[in-house]
């Protein structure tokens, strides 16, 4: 029988917010964003959201380096995972803020750079997904 999932504390919720934010745009957001993130979790996933029901979230608390690979693995194995939904929520919070508007409104710098960027990001994605699938499977079985 699997062990009951350990509830995450408020500080763990804040840490998760920082982790996802650093992963997405490389910044540690101020406290108001962390509060907003927790409010968003409650609104979208219910009160139990801080007690993540998925083992990969618990795995992530112990292995913070794994976030990019869990995200990439989830693309292949579970696109509807709570983890990906949390990343989308955090993206929404960052995007709807003047502090990070420049990142999201970034103007293109010519067709060549745009095409090269697309190729580069696609290659990175594929590599991450190749590594991400086994990491995700390990996380799934780790509970």
């Amino acid at each position: 029988m699997p062990e009951p999932v350990k509830p995450a504390t408020i500080s763990e919720g804040d840490a998760e917010c920082s982790l996802i934010s650093r992963y997405l745009i490389g910044v540690d957001p101020p406290q108001e964003f962390k509060d907003r993130y927790r409010a968003g979790q409650r609104a979208l996933f219910g009160e139990e959201s801080l007690e993540s029901a998925e083992p990969e979230a618990e795995f992530l608390r112990a292995h913070r380096w794994a976030l990019p690979y869990l995200d990439a693995g989830a693309v292949v194995l579970n696109r509807e995972s709570i983890l990906r939904k949390k990343i989308i929520l955090m993206t929404a919070i960052l995007e709807a803020s003047p502090a990070y508007a420049e990142f999201f409104l970034h103007a293109p710098e010519g067709p060549l750079k745009a095409w090269c960027g697309l190729v580069w990001q696609s290659v990175r994605s594929i590599v991450k997904m190749i590594i991400g699938v086994p990491v995700f499977l390990v996380a799934r079985r780790s509970r």
Binding site: D71, V75, R84, I87, T91, A96, F104, S122, M129
Partner: protein, 540 residues
């Protein structure tokens, strides 16, 4: 019990407001009963500034872009429509409890808001072709006049001479078309180069007619090109029916009463209708008396009221709805170009496919630029890690074109709505069955392939087709179709409900057919026609 009025109009949407106009202008007493929900939170927060400026400067933007309850962060299927942003959510508020509807395969959208579903419409305003009007049960010559009246009332803009001229119906009074954005300019110039090939495939491109002002009218301002049209309606440039209610309230013979949910009606004698409504503040019932009743509560709700009033439970009614498909495209000829800051967020171009070559079964698509809908909404749809997806979206967002494609619909045995009494005897609910014929679905997929081929020819690479589900177009019709045949639960060509002397149907429920081009503008013209007929009846 209220004193008798000449006419009582149920609802405040596109049909209701335009049905009321001829009566009110002629001096008849008109009561409009409506629940009338409205946005009291978000519209006050949105500054009158361009999208990029808002994003860079407004610290409160998260409230209206995401919603106070994060209702603007869609994590499931496309469902109710990406255009229903938090400032527009009130349009669908409380309908699950007040207008219970069940279906396993149809996402019904009802509205109890002031302005109805058109509070969130896209404002595309094509008149129907004569053949489409005839199939809908309308007289083309008669309706043309009402199209012009409504066009003058609401303000319609658009171009006159392009390849859509023969396919979209004509209007005499048009304001200048909206300025196209960078994507639309490039796509249209590509179309002009590829025109002969595309026209051989019977695909045509042009500018849409839009119920949007490009010149001032009746105290409303021209579109400011702030690219904020999904979030706010600055200066009332986009016509929404809630703008019509205060206009009508300027007449002393018009009364807007809310919050009333109309439950049923009863004819006591010729020209004597009792309307039973529930006040949502006091929860007590109230009876209104009218010489004429105009039902314009939205096609599904009108059907519900008629079935309940006639006690026709378990009686299936026909129903039509435009099937919608979204095709997100990368307009690769535009990739890497800086987007214009001065632009609007509404439909930029219209593409029409004439599969039979005789204009009888047109397929229509609107092309939108994605920019102002934000990047996070697309994260879940791309099969790549979020970090990389975000950087890809950064690069492609200004060149992302969303094609919203709609198919025609005709009544058939697989598409019905039925009013079922509740098991505990306290109420009822509308049940919708939606199983379109397989050959129709096959034909739609075939048409979509042609459209996608045409898009590729226009340098737009279609990523995939997304079906948001049956019912999500929010275009519903045909429950009480207009017909010459004397059949119960139908409407006479005048709009009068059969079996009554003084009850008229002025919304989509009376239209017997639904072309692909969106029905709101035609609803308004038909409602104006029905209002005029009621007026003549009262005078006679």
């Amino acid at each position: 019990m209220s004193a008798e009025t000449d006419s009582l109009v149920v609802g405040s949407g596109a049909s209701a407001v335009n049905a009321a106009y001829p009566l009110v202008q002629a001096g008849r007493s008109v009561v409009m009963l409506d629940v009338g929900f409205e946005d009291t939170v978000y519209h006050k927060l949105i500054p009158p500034a361009p999208y990029a400026e808002v994003r860079r400067t407004d610290p409160r933007q998260h409230r209206y872009l995401l919603g106070d309850n994060f209702e603007g962060v869609p994590l499931g299927k496309i469902g109710a429509g990406p255009q229903v942003t938090p400032p527009r959510r009130h349009v669908l508020a409380n309908t699950e409890t007040l207008l219970p509807t069940v279906s396993t395969d149809f996402a019904a959208m009802n509205s109890l808001a002031i302005g109805g579903l058109a509070g969130a419409w896209g404002a595309v305003s094509f008149p129907y072709l004569d053949s489409e009007l005839v199939k809908s049960g309308l007289d083309p010559q008669e309706l043309r006049r009402h199209y012009e009246i409504v066009s003058k009332r609401i303000g319609v803009c658009g171009g006159r001479n392009d390849d859509l001229t023969a396919l979209r119906g004509q209007l005499d009074e048009l304001q200048l078309p909206l300025e196209p954005d960078g994507n639309a300019e490039l796509i249209y110039s590509c179309y002009q180069r590829e025109r002969s090939t595309l026209n051989r495939e019977r695909v045509y491109l042009g500018s849409p007619f839009m119920a949007v002002l490009t010149q001032p009218r009746n105290g409303r301002s021209p579109n400011p090109y702030h690219d904020m049209d999904f979030w706010t309606n600055e200066g009332g440039s986009v016509y929404r029916p809630q703008l019509g209610v205060p206009e009508l309230q300027k007449y002393p013979n018009f009364s807007y009463r809310r919050p009333y949910l109309v439950e049923r009606f009863e004819e006591k004698g010729p020209g004597q209708v009792s309307i039973y409504a529930k006040s949502l503040t006091g929860h007590q019932g109230e009876v209104f008396q009218a010489r004429r009743l105009i039902l314009a509560a939205g096609a599904m709700n009108t059907a519900r009221l008629v079935l309940r009033s006639f006690r026709q439970y378990n009686q299936p009614l026909p129903m039509t709805c435009n099937e919608t498909t979204y095709i997100p495209c990368l307009h690769y000829a535009h990739l890497g170009r800086k987007p214009k800051d001065r632009c609007h967020s509404l439909a930029q171009l219209t593409m029409i496919y004439d599969p039979t070559g005789d204009q009888q079964h047109l397929v229509q698509a609107q092309l939108y630029s994605y920019r102002s809908m934000m990047l996070f909404r697309l994260l879940k749809d791309l099969p790549l890690p979020c970090r990389e997806t975000l950087r890809i979206l950064q690069a492609i967002a200004p060149s992302l074109v969303i094609v919203v494609l709609q198919h025609e619909d005709s009544p058939n045995a697989g598409q019905t709505c039925v009013l079922r009494p509740s098991t505990d005897g306290t109420g009822d609910m509308l049940e919708i069955a939606w199983r379109p014929p397989p050959e129709t679905v096959r034909h739609q997929r075939k048409c979509e392939k042609v459209m996608m081929r045409a898009l590729r020819q226009l340098r737009c690479w279609p990523a995939k087709t997304l079906s948001p589900g049956h019912g999500t177009s929010a275009h519903y019709a045909s429950q009480l179709p207009m017909t010459q045949e004397d059949k119960p639960l139908t409407t006479e060509p005048s709009g009068r409900l059969r079996g009554t002397t003084a009850v008229y149907v002025a919304d989509g429920a009376a239209l017997a057919y639904m072309p692909a081009k969106g029905l709101t503008f035609t609803l308004m013209a038909n409602a104006n026609r029905v209002g005029s007929i009621v007026l003549r009846g009262l005078a006679g």
